[in-house]
C-alpha cells in the first residue's frame, strides 16, 4: 500500500517524525516499509500491510491510527457533515435486496442527484496519483479517495442504467456474463456473487464494477454503494477468476461492517462539495446482523509468560488506550477490554499480547535461552544412514545431484512408469510425481556428457509409489556412471566393487548379485540376506536410443529403505595372526554359468579357522577352454592364529578345498 506522507500529516496537529524515521518506526512496530520514494514535495511510503490488517490498515487513516498509537499522538478525524435534499428521498429511487444474508453483511447506498461529471479537484487527483491510482472523473476519484482514506471500497453506478429501480445482491446464473470496467468479459456462475438490477449484472460483488452502469459524462444521478461482503466468498472468487483488485483485497479480510456508513457519507460530502450535487434524503442501509465490539480478558501472567518480559500494568493500560481499546475492568491479575469493531483481527488474549508487545517494542525483550531438563537428543536413524551413504559415495568419487520430484510423459513412457498424477501441474514436463530416480539421472548424464567424458553422479531422495498403501513415499538411492575412456567390463567391475564397498561400510557383508531372467542382459540384481534390494549394470541401449545418448552409461538403483534395515554400526575386531601365511594358487575349469562369488564362498566354508582368504585373480574363456566352460584361477591364503602351519596340514586343506570344488561345481583341475 502506498501511503502519502503529506496526506498522513493532515491527521495530526503535531509534526510526525521525518519520513525515513517514520518508515523505520512503522517497520519495527507495525508493518514493513519496503520502499520510500520522494515525489515532488511528498514522500511515498510503500507499506507492506499484513494480511490480517487488510481490513483496517489499507488506508491513510488506518496507518494514521497506528502512528498515533506508537507515537502517542492525538489524531484529528475528518469532519463529515451532509446537507440532504429533503425533496427527494433515497428510498423512492431505489430498492435494495440481499438474496442471501450470509453473502452480504451490509449494503449501504445513497443517491446523488444533479451530479456534474468533470475532472476531480487537484488535491484529490494528486493524492490518487501519489498512491498509484489513475484519476478518471470526480465521482470515481472520490470513491477511490475515500477507499484510500478509510479503507472502505465504494462503487458508483449511473442511475439511468439501473433497470427496475432495483439493486439485488445475488449469485449469478450459469449463463450470465459481465463486461467489467477494464473491458474484460467474464462468464459468471452460481458461485459468483453479483450486484444486479432487475435484469442484468452490474458488478462482480466486492471485486469489479461492470460497464453497463459505468459513470460517464452523461451521468446525472449516481448510486453510491458502500457494502460489506462475506470475506471468504470474495477471496475465493477473486482467485478463481484471477481478478484481485483494490476492492477485493480489502474485502478479503477483517473489514468492519460498521465502516460502510461513515465512508459513504464522506464520499457524498466530497461529491457534494465538488459539484454541488444534491444528496437525496435518507440512507439505504441493509444491515441484518449488527457487529458489536468484542470483550476479551487478558491475564497479566500470560502476557509475561508469552513475551518473557514483565511490562508494568500501567504501561499495558496506556498501550491499549492508545490503540483505542477500551478498558472495562482491571484488577491485580487481569484486565478486561472492549475492542473496537474495526479491529476484527483481535479475537483472543494472544492477539492482545501481540498488540501490547509490538507497541511496547520487541527490541526490549532480552534474549534468554530456554531452561529445562538436559535429556539427550535421539539421533534420527534415517538421516544418519543417509548421511553415511552420501559420505561413502562421495569418497568413491560420486557427486550428489538433486532433481525435481516431478517428471513428464517422456520419462513415463520411456521407462514404462506408473506414476502418481498431479491435478494441477506446473507444466506438462512436471505432470507426475517420480516413482524412480534413474530417469532424471540419465538426463543429468546426457547434459553433463557435453562437458565431461567421465563422471559419477547419485541421488538419495524420496520417490512416490502409487501402489504403496500406508504412505506413498519411498527413499531410493540411484546413481549413474559414464566413462568414455574405459571398457564396459572395467566400468562394470569397478561399479560392482564400489557397491560391495558401500554395503560393507554400512555394515552389510553378505551381498549376492544374481542375474535376473527377463532383465537387461548386462545387469544384475542385488540381494541382501535373500531380499532383493536393487539392481545395477549397464543402461540398456533401448533406453539410451530413445533419449538420444550415444555413450555407454551404467547405473544402480536401490531401495534404500530395504538396505537401511540391514545397516549396522557393529564391528568386531578379528585377531591378527603373527604366524606366516601360506599362499597357494589353484586353477581349473568350471561351467560358464557358475557364479564366481559362490566358488569363493564354498572355499571359505571348507575351513573357517585356517582359510583366511580366497581371491579370484584370473577368469578366462576362449582358446583352449571348451565351450560352456571357463578357466578360473584362485589365490588362497592359509594361516593359523596359533602356530605356523606345516606343509602337511596345508596340503590336507588344499585337498579338501579341491574335493569340495569338484563335488559342488564339477571343477576340473588344470
Amino acid at each position: 500500500m502506498n501511503i502519502s506522507y503529506n496526506w498522513l500529516r493532515t491527521y495530526f496537529n503535531k509534526p510526525l517524525p521525518k519520513p525515513k524515521n517514520l518508515a523505520e518506526i512503522l517497520t519495527m512496530h507495525c508493518f514493513e516499509n519496503e520502499t520510500l520514494t520522494k515525489k515532488g514535495n511528498d514522500f511515498i511510503l510503500g507499506i507492506d500491510v499484513l494480511p490480517d490488517r487488510a481490513g483496517d490498515c489499507l488506508c491513510h487513516l488506518g496507518i494514521a491510527k497506528e502512528c498515533a498509537a506508537i507515537l502517542d499522538k492525538k489524531i484529528i478525524f475528518p469532519k463529515i457533515t451532509l446537507k440532504e435534499n429533503k425533496k427527494n428521498k433515497a428510498k423512492d429511487y431505489l430498492k435494495v435486496e440481499i438474496k442471501d444474508k450470509n453473502t452480504c453483511l451490509r449494503y449501504t447506498a445513497r443517491i446523488l442527484d444533479n451530479v456534474q461529471i468533470k475532472p476531480s479537484s487537484k488535491y484529490i487527483q494528486e493524492r490518487l496519483i501519489a498512491c498509484g491510482l489513475t484519476p478518471i472523473n470526480n465521482v470515481v476519484d472520490i470513491a477511490n479517495y475515500v477507499m484510500l482514506e478509510f479503507g472502505q471500497p465504494l462503487h458508483a453506478f449511473d442511475y439511468q442504467n439501473i433497470e427496475g429501480k432495483k439493486i439485488i445482491v445475488r449469485y449469478a446464473n450459469q449463463n450470465e456474463k459481465i463486461t467489467t470496467l477494464s473491458n474484460l468479459t467474464y462468464s459468471l456462475n452460481d458461485k459468483i456473487l453479483i450486484i444486479a438490477d432487475a435484469k442484468k449484472p452490474l458488478a462482480i460483488a466486492g471485486i469489479k464494477g461492470g460497464k453497463d452502469a459505468e459513470i460517464n459524462n452523461t451521468t446525472k444521478t449516481v448510486v453510491l454503494e458502500s457494502a460489506n461482503f462475506n470475506a471468504k466468498l470474495i477471496s475465493q472468487t477473486a482467485r478463481k477468476i484471477n481478478l484481485r483488485t483494490d476492492a477485493s483485497i480489502r474485502f478479503e479480510q477483517n473489514l468492519d461492517p460498521n465502516l460502510t456508513e461513515i465512508a459513504i457519507n464522506r464520499a457524498a460530502q466530497l461529491i457534494q462539495a465538488d459539484c454541488k450535487a444534491k444528496i437525496a434524503e435518507g440512507i439505504i442501509d441493509i444491515y441484518p446482523n449488527k457487529v458489536f465490539p468484542k470483550k476479551i480478558t487478558l491475564l497479566f501472567s500470560e502476557l509475561t509468560k508469552i513475551l518473557g518480559i514483565e511490562i508494568k500494568s500501567t504501561e499495558v493500560v496506556s498501550i491499549l488506550k492508545r490503540l483505542s481499546i477500551k478498558i472495562i475492568k482491571k484488577n491485580e491479575g487481569a484486565i478486561t477490554v472492549e475492542v473496537p469493531t474495526y479491529r476484527q483481527d483481535i479475537l483472543l488474549p494472544e492477539n492482545l499480547i501481540e498488540e501490547i508487545g509490538r507497541v511496547y517494542g520487541y527490541e526490549k525483550i532480552k534474549p534468554e535461552l530456554p531452561c529445562g531438563h538436559l535429556s539427550p537428543v535421539s539421533k534420527n536413524k534415517n538421516i544418519y544412514w543417509q548421511n553415511k551413504t552420501k559420505d561413502i559415495l562421495k569418497e568413491l568419487g560420486y557427486t550428489e545431484v538433486y532433481n525435481y520430484s516431478f517428471i513428464g510423459d517422456k520419462e513415463k513412457n520411456i521407462f514404462g512408469l506408473n506414476p502418481i498424477e498431479i491435478t494441477n501441474p506446473v507444466s506438462n514436463e512436471f505432470k507426475y510425481l517420480r516413482p524412480e530416480l534413474i530417469p532424471q539421472l540419465i538426463n543429468n548424464a546426457k547434459e553433463n556428457l557435453k562437458t565431461y567424458s567421465n563422471f559419477k553422479i547419485f541421488e538419495l531422495n524420496k520417490v512416490f509409489i502409487q501402489d504403496l498403501k500406508e504412505k506413498k513415499e519411498l527413499t531410493k538411492l540411484a546413481g549413474v556412471v559414464a566413462d568414455t575412456q574405459k571398457s564396459s567390463q572395467k566400468i562394470f567391475t569397478t561399479l560392482r566393487g564400489e557397491l560391495n564397498h558401500l554395503f560393507n561400510e554400512l555394515g552389510i557383508y553378505k551381498i549376492d548379485f544374481e542375474k535376473e531372467n527377463q532383465a537387461n542382459e548386462n545387469a544384475l540384481a542385488i540381494f541382501v540376506k535373500g531380499k532383493k534390494i536393487g539392481s545395477f549394470g549397464q543402461v540398456s541401449d533401448y533406453i539410451l536410443d530413445q533419449i538420444n545418448i550415444k555413450e555407454k552409461l551404467f547405473g544402480f538403483n536401490i531401495n534404500f529403505e530395504k538396505v537401511q534395515q540391514f545397516c549396522t554400526k557393529e564391528k568386531i575386531f578379528i585377531p591378527i595372526s603373527f604366524h606366516p601365511p601360506a599362499r597357494r594358487d589353484i586353477s581349473g575349469l568350471i561351467s560358464k554359468d557358475t557364479q564366481l562369488e559362490k566358488i569363493v564362498q564354498a572355499i571359505l566354508s571348507v575351513d573357517k579357522q585356517f582359510i583366511k582368504s580366497a581371491e579370484i585373480y584370473d577368469v578366462y574363456q576362449g582358446k583352449n577352454v571348451p565351450e560352456n566352460q571357463k578357466s578360473v584361477s584362485i589365490h588362497i591364503v592359509y594361516q593359523s592364529n596359533e602356530k605356523t602351519l606345516d606343509s602337511k596340514s596345508i596340503d590336507r586343506l588344499q585337498n579338501e578345498v579341491l574335493s569340495k570344488l569338484i563335488k559342488s561345481f564339477n571343477w576340473q583341475p588344470r
Partner: protein, 340 residues
Amino acid sequence: MDFSELKDSIQKDLSQIKNSDELKNFSITYLGKKGKIRTLFSELKNVSLEERKKLGQEINEFAKTVQNEADKLEQIFKEREYKLKEAQNKINLDLPGEKIETGHLHPLTITRREIEDIFERMGFEVVEGLEIEDEWHNFDSLNIPEGHPARDALSLGKTLYLKNGGLLRSHTSAAQTRYMQTMKPPIRIVIPGRTYRSEKIDASHEINFYQIEGLMVAKNVSVANLKAVMQVFLKKFFEKETIIRLRPSYFPFTEPSFEIDMTCLICNGKGCAACKHSGWVEILGSGMVHPNVIKNGGLDPQKYKGFAFGMSIDRLTMMKYKIDDIRWFHSGNLKFLKQF
C-alpha cells in the same frame, strides 16, 4: 719413513682425495691394520722405553686426527653421492599439481547438515515430515481453515494436488501437529525437508524448495527464548557476531508472529546494496505457536506454550555461498556441483 715424513705425506695425500674410492685407498694405505701408521709402531722397538711411550702417544693422537679427517671426507662424499643420485632422478618441481577427482555433496545437503547439527547440539531432535500431506495437516491444523485468505492464497493456485487424493506439502509446518500428537512435552524438534509450490520458476522462485521448521513446546516458552535460540543459531551458522531483531509479522499458526532480521553480513549492518541500505536482512519467519495449533496437536494451550520458526535452506545456502540463482540447485550441472 720417519714420523714427520709420514705426517707430511699424509697431509699431502689427504688434500688430494677427490672421491670415496681414493679415500678408501688412503684409509688402507695409512689407517688400515697394515697401514703406514701401524708400521710406525713396529719401528718404535729401537727407542728407549721413555721415548717409546711419548712417541706412541703422539702417533696415537695423530692417527685419531687423521681418522677424523677421513671420516669428515667420507661424510662429504656420501652427501655428494646422494645429491648426484637425486639429480639423476630429478623431479620437475615446476609441473602443476594434478587435478584430484573426488565426489561432492550437494550444497543443500551441506547446509542442511550444518543447520541440523547446530540444532541438535541445542537439544532439538531432527525429524522428518511427509511430503504427500492431507489438507488437515497442511492447512486446518495450522489454523488456516477453509475460507481463510491464507488458505486461499496457498490452496487456490500455489498448492499442488494429487489425482487420487492428498496434496504436496506447501510448507514443512505441515508436520507440526503430527509430532505434537505423538511426542510428550517438552518438545524440541526441527523438521527439514522438501516443499512444493506451484510457481513460475525464475532466479528466486522454485517449485521444489527446502525448508526447516523448528518447534519448541513446553510449560514455559517465551519470545525471549525464541530470540535467544535464533540468535545462537544464526551466530553459529554464519560464524559471525550477528545481531537479530524481531519485527511484527503475520502467520495464521503463530501469535504473536515475527519476521526475524539479522545484521547484513556483507556490510556488518552499515548498509549496502545487498541489504537495500538498511543494514538488515530478512532471514526467517517465526512466532509463538497459536493456541489453536497447540489444541490441534492434542495439548492444552493453557498449560503449554511454544515457539515455531521456519526458514529456507535454499536461501541460507545462497547467502552462504553467494549463489545468485536458485535454479542451479536442480540443474544437475557438474560445473556447479563440483564447486562444493
